[in-house]
């Protein structure tokens, strides 16, 4: 899946998972896996690759669960107008 993640580059993301969108003033927090995914999306990595990295880095079994959760995360970002 290819996403337009240009808007994500605007985001200020702290190591603690606090995210500030300087264009809209919106703030939100993400957990460790969300932070990992968000940074990977900012780097324009493919969603499939991010799912594989998440499984590896966080030592999680069940690639379908990861893919589903990642899809949900991307959908939330899309709702906020941060990915297209």
């Amino acid at each position: 899946m290819t996403l337009d993640t240009t808007r994500l580059r605007d985001l200020a993301v702290s190591d603690g998972g606090f995210v500030f969108d300087p264009v809209t003033g919106q703030t939100f927090t993400v957990n460790d896996t969300g932070l990992f995914a968000l940074r990977a999306l900012k780097d324009a990595q493919r969603v499939d690759d991010i799912a594989a990295s998440l499984a590896s880095v966080f030592e999680v079994d069940g690639s379908e669960d990861i893919a589903r959760d990642l899809d949900g995360f991307v959908s939330r970002l899309r709702e906020q107008g941060l990915v297209r």
């Binding site: 200020a12 500030f20 300087p22 264009v23 809209t24 003033g25 919106q26 703030t27």
Partner: protein, 358 residues
């Protein structure tokens, strides 16, 4: 580096309550600038206006006659205060004062008090009842709106705009209403509070942004700071906010300033729809109550306004403001000297004691 100010400046609207006037924020912004070596005289309408009691904020204060007493009474009072304090500039911060000050500009200048406010015609063209007419000339989007002088006009507008819609007072306040009955109640409330007409505006579902700006009267915007409110009071006033970086907001403010050759401070209230369309819902011809955020974020618009009022040099370009700078208001109890209250109550003039160097 800003040019120094060594002048006595009067700032109105020091009633920093839960629905604060901008005066305290403007006074703080002046004091915030290292080049400020002047005096700030706070002007209010009640002896208990909280700004009079803020430690280190003012060098003096005075009570003004209410705007309902008319322009002549206002001018006479300012003349008296000029003799007491040696006022050299007046920065009005309340909507209810702006028309009087704009009309009195040359009279005030004649007694040595300079201002930097929008022309009367500009204030009228940007006013709530006339805002929708500005859309074409300024190339901005303004929600459809109509003025209503009697409640029987509401039914037609409910049909035309649909529900919900927004009912606004002539000077202050807005309510989103979801039924014709609520619209009627809001009409009566605003008509009783601020008089008629009442403004009825199509509802726009979007995120609100506010831009504080300063025009120099030639059509050039000297500076602007955009902010999104993060927390509201039950009256809908911003209790916390954060500066944002959105070029569309700056373009919008520039369009308003350019179209009206705006002179002085203004606040543009904007709604941004999900699809990105931006609507100007209100233009206030003064600084907002949150204006200290502009100074705190690196763009001291009140100080530049004071420089312009005094005819002093201003920087060619103001520095960009820091995006992500927040303000968070706080309610706290100031310990006050009874003498402050006594002076303001008895004579309407507060003369601060100068501290003697040790």
């Amino acid at each position: 580096m800003m040019h120094a100010i060594d002048a006595t400046i009067a700032v109105t609207g020091v009633n920093a309550t839960d629905n604060p006037a901008p005066g305290v924020a403007v006074a703080r912004a002046l004091r915030h600038e290292p080049a400020f070596a002047g005096r700030v005289i706070g002007l209010g309408y009640e002896a208990l206006d909280p700004g009079f009691y803020a430690p280190g904020l003012l060098d003096g204060g005075a009570i003004l006659p209410y705007p309902s007493h008319g322009r002549a009474a206002f001018f006479e009072r300012v003349k008296e205060l000029q003799k007491v304090f040696g006022l050299e500039a007046l920065l009005p911060t309340l909507d209810s004062e702006l028309r009087s000050v704009a009309r009195l500009e040359s009279d005030l200048a004649a007694i040595g008090i300079r201002t930097f406010v929008p022309a009367l015609d500009t204030i009228e063209r940007a006013s709530k009842p006339q805002l929708h007419r500005l859309a074409d000339g300024a190339r901005i989007r303004v929600p459809d709106s109509e003025t209503v002088a009697a409640p029987d006009g509401l039914e037609k507008l409910v049909r035309r705009f649909g529900l919900p819609l927004v009912v606004k007072g002539l000077y202050y306040g807005a309510q989103i209403v979801h039924s014709e009955a609520d619209a009627l109640a809001a009409f009566h409330y605003f008509a009783a509070t601020w008089g008629v007409p009442v403004i009825v505006q199509r509802f726009i579902d979007g995120i609100e942004f506010n831009v504080a700006a300063l025009g120099d009267g030639t059509g050039r915007m000297r500076g602007a700071v955009a902010m999104r409110k993060l927390a509201l009071t039950d009256k809908g006033k911003g209790w916390s906010g954060v500066t944002v970086d959105n070029p569309d907001l700056m373009t919008l403010a520039e369009s308003v300033v350019g179209a009206l050759s705006w002179r002085g401070p203004l606040e543009v209230e904007v709604l941004s729809e999900q699809g990105g369309d931006m609507w100007v819902i209100e233009i206030n011809p003064r600084f907002p109550a949150w204006i200290y955020l502009a100074a705190g974020a690196g763009q001291n618009l009140p100080y530049v306004c004071a420089l312009l009022a005094l005819g002093l040099p201003t920087p060619r370009e103001l520095p960009p403001y820091r995006v992500g700078t927040m303000f968070v208001r706080i309610s706290l109890d100031q310990i006050a000297d009874l003498d402050t209250f006594a002076q303001l109550s008895a004579s309407g003039v507060l003369e601060m004691r100068q501290e003697t160097p040790a």
